[in-house]
């Protein structure tokens, strides 16, 4: 299939002499025109239809993201222009436009502003752009200009000589068709610019974070006798607490040596006094007290001696959330009994939200002390209704047990559809807003800057919510969640990663600001990865816990291992396959 354009050639004639293109390529003009000539459509109200609950902006943004994901870039741009709902930072759209318009110079100039900071990734990005430019010139039979790009732009970038040699050999191509075939490249009018964009996106995320990306298991903590359901790091980053179905919580000491093979990790304390499986763990601000929850009970432990200081039984159903206040003056518990209770640091009840509108499945307090965000199920409208809600809703009419009766007793019963996120003003305890969502919500985290909330929504979605703007930023997908309580977290430099467990046994990692799935980390055994936690003091380390009874510590691969490996993405060969019998398995022994 020959896809050379006839008259409407896509080559930017100005590309070489004046790389800061003036939008003179036909494609460029087209796209640009697209963007600016489309009138913004202004619609009344905020829902998709008059009589629907669907938030129009949320809906449209998802459509834009979906269009872009499959490659309908222009349709996405058109919809963005018409709706006025933009998904990307302006620099990112600008950059995308430059690449699609073959405005190579402008694109290169923008790289630094896009946060591609270090020399090496900058070179890499420049090389990819230069290579596309070179190939397009060759395709347009502008051999002299292409040669100039090769000599003056590509060669100085410290490229692999073989690669350069390969590129120069393409000069000998007999015709554009031959060039495309030999280069494995589909031409300026094909998908090559899109592919370049995708590759650049990968490169810049990867390369700017590459050195700090924890993708290798360095330790496996194996002491729990059953599934590990939750984990939390102490604030000093030296201890990890784990909660297990085996009715214990364990405090692990994770040595601070930077070299994993030198590091000692040991179960420091095993907290056994739980009558039920342990669901939550939470460290006080000074790491002196560890809270655990086992069904409806909360226990306060001296984290140094392992002595149980107090057992709190104000909840009548499972406690699903424990979170300390940012100033350490106390903590908040939430439960499936609909209660939200504020306790002081000694474990005395200080305040209460009373019986709230829903069974709380998780809650979080924003670090700036402004908000309490809770997620839950079985929503019942408070009577009398004290607040206006964003969306309409009816009284809870949970359906009775259905009667197909094929033996799968639990699966027979329809899940309650009333799942909500409720945002409270922390100081006044007043409801600020509430959002109804389909599907069970099992985890909520708030970013360090208090701006974003992150929650898992079954099935298979994680939502990033802008608390200030009160809207969905994006959905993250890839991980599996249908039946279990799965938790996610922010992590890395500036909380730029989002990590989640998954029912398929993998750990999923996304780039927060683009939503790109960066990593699917395998290693855990059968069952779910239930929770993940980023080390608060070491952005190069996080932990995950699983139904396989273990906790894995993930770290940045050591530099020498990096140099040994040929390809960037493939670290699998570095990871020892055996799981080891030791209680704490030092993974690097085998590397």
């Amino acid at each position: 299939m020959d896809r050379i354009p006839a008259s409407n050639g896509h080559t930017n004639g100005n590309g070489l002499s004046s790389p800061i293109a003036n939008g003179s390529s036909p494609l460029g003009n087209g796209v640009q025109k697209h963007g600016s000539s489309i009138a913004r459509v202004s619609l009344p109200g905020s829902t998709l239809y008059d009589d629907s609950y669907i938030d129009r902006q949320e809906f449209v943004r998802l459509v834009i993201q979906s269009l872009r994901d499959v490659g309908y870039i222009e349709s996405a741009a058109t919809l963005e222009a018409e709706s006025g709902y933009s998904l990307e930072a302006p620099e990112v759209s600008e950059f995308r436009q430059y690449i699609l318009n073959a405005s190579w110079g402008s694109a290169e100039a923008l790289l630094v502003r896009l946060g591609v900071a270090d020399e090496e990734s900058l070179w890499e990005a420049r090389f990819l752009i230069g290579q596309q430019k070179y190939l397009e010139l060759l395709e347009a039979r502008k051999t002299a200009a292409a040669l100039q790009v090769l000599r003056n732009e590509l060669a100085p970038l410290n490229v692999d000589p073989d690669q350069l040699h390969l590129l120069s050999s393409l000069m000998m191509s007999s015709d554009p068709e031959d060039l495309r075939r030999r280069a494995g490249w589909d031409g300026a009018s094909g998908a090559s610019r899109q592919q370049l964009l995708a590759e650049l996106q990968r490169q810049s995320f990867y390369s700017s974070y590459f050195d700090a990306f924890p993708r290798v298991t360095t330790m496996i903590l194996e002491v729990h006798a059953d599934e590990v359901w939750n984990i939390a790091w102490s604030h000093n980053g030296e201890y990890l607490a784990s909660a297990s179905k085996d009715k214990t919580a364990i405090i692990w000491r994770i040595g601070s040596e930077s070299e994993p093979s030198m590091r000692e990790c040991a179960p420091e304390l095993i907290l056994r006094d739980h009558p039920y499986s342990v669901g939550c763990v939470a460290w006080s601000r000074d790491d002196a007290i560890l809270l655990t929850s086992a069904d409806h009970l909360i226990k306060m432990w001296d984290a140094r001696s392992g002595i149980c200081l107090r057992t709190l039984d104000a909840h009548s159903e499972t406690v699903s959330a424990l979170t300390w206040l940012p100033d350490g003056s106390g903590f908040i518990s939430g439960g499936l009994d609909r209660k939200i209770i504020l306790w002081d640091a000694e474990g005395k009840q200080r305040d209460s939200w009373g019986i709230t509108a829903m069974r709380v499945t998780d809650l979080a307090v924003s670090p700036d002390f402004s908000r309490l965000v809770s997620v839950g199920m079985d929503y019942v409208a408070p009577t009398p209704p004290a607040h206006e809600f964003e969306h309409g809703h009816g009284r809870d009419t949970s359906p009775p047990i259905s009667g197909s009766g094929n033996g799968a007793s639990i699966a027979n019963v329809p899940r309650s559809p009333e799942n909500w996120m409720i945002i409270y003003d922390l100081a006044s305890k007043q409801m600020e807003s509430s959002i109804r969502l389909d599907g069970e919500l099992t985890s909520i985290k708030i970013s360090d800057d208090s701006r974003y909330a992150l929650f898992n929504r079954s099935p298979d979605e994680i939502h990033l919510w802008d608390l200030a703007a009160g809207q969905l930023v994006r959905k993250l997908t890839g991980q599996r969640q249908e039946h279990n309580v799965i938790r996610s977290c922010f992590g890395g430099i500036d909380g730029n990663f989002i990590v989640s467990g998954s029912e398929d046994g993998n750990v999923y990692v996304w780039h927060r600001d683009s939503g790109s799935l960066l990593e699917v980390l395998s290693g855990h055994g059968e069952g779910s990865v239930n929770s993940v936690a980023w080390n608060p003091r070491n952005e190069r380390m996080f932990a995950s816990c699983s139904d396989d009874n273990t906790i894995r510590i993930w770290e940045v691969p050591p530099t020498d291992a990096f140099e040994l490996s040929s390809g960037r993405a493939d670290y699998s060969q570095l990871e020892p396959s055996g799981k080891g019998k030791g209680k704490v398995n030092q993974q690097w022994d085998g590397a």
Binding site: E317, S320, D378, I401, G405, G407, S409, V485, G527
Partner: protein, 110 residues
Amino acid sequence: MGMKYRRYLAGERVYGCATCRTHLATIHSMISRAFNGQHGRAYLFDGVVNIVEGEPNDRQMTTGKHTVRDIYCVKCGATLGWKYDRAYEGSQKYKEGKFILERNLLVDVQ
């Protein structure tokens, strides 16, 4: 496998575990009150939540041979009744996949 919260039921009447009040079934899913268990009167239900099922075994009952498994409360582990996997008599087939909860082990939670 994995962490799950217990299910909560709603309706006019919800039966819970007498020991720990964990929700088990609603009156809407009740098929019959005319059963007998080890502790007297028992109810047949179409669907039950928050239970753990034991291993299957064959039992000779007044209405013939059945393959059943005991069922336990997911929270406190109390034995609550049993589930019918298989009825050998044709006339008893309607019980398959259904659950017996013993009345004396139940409490109204709502």
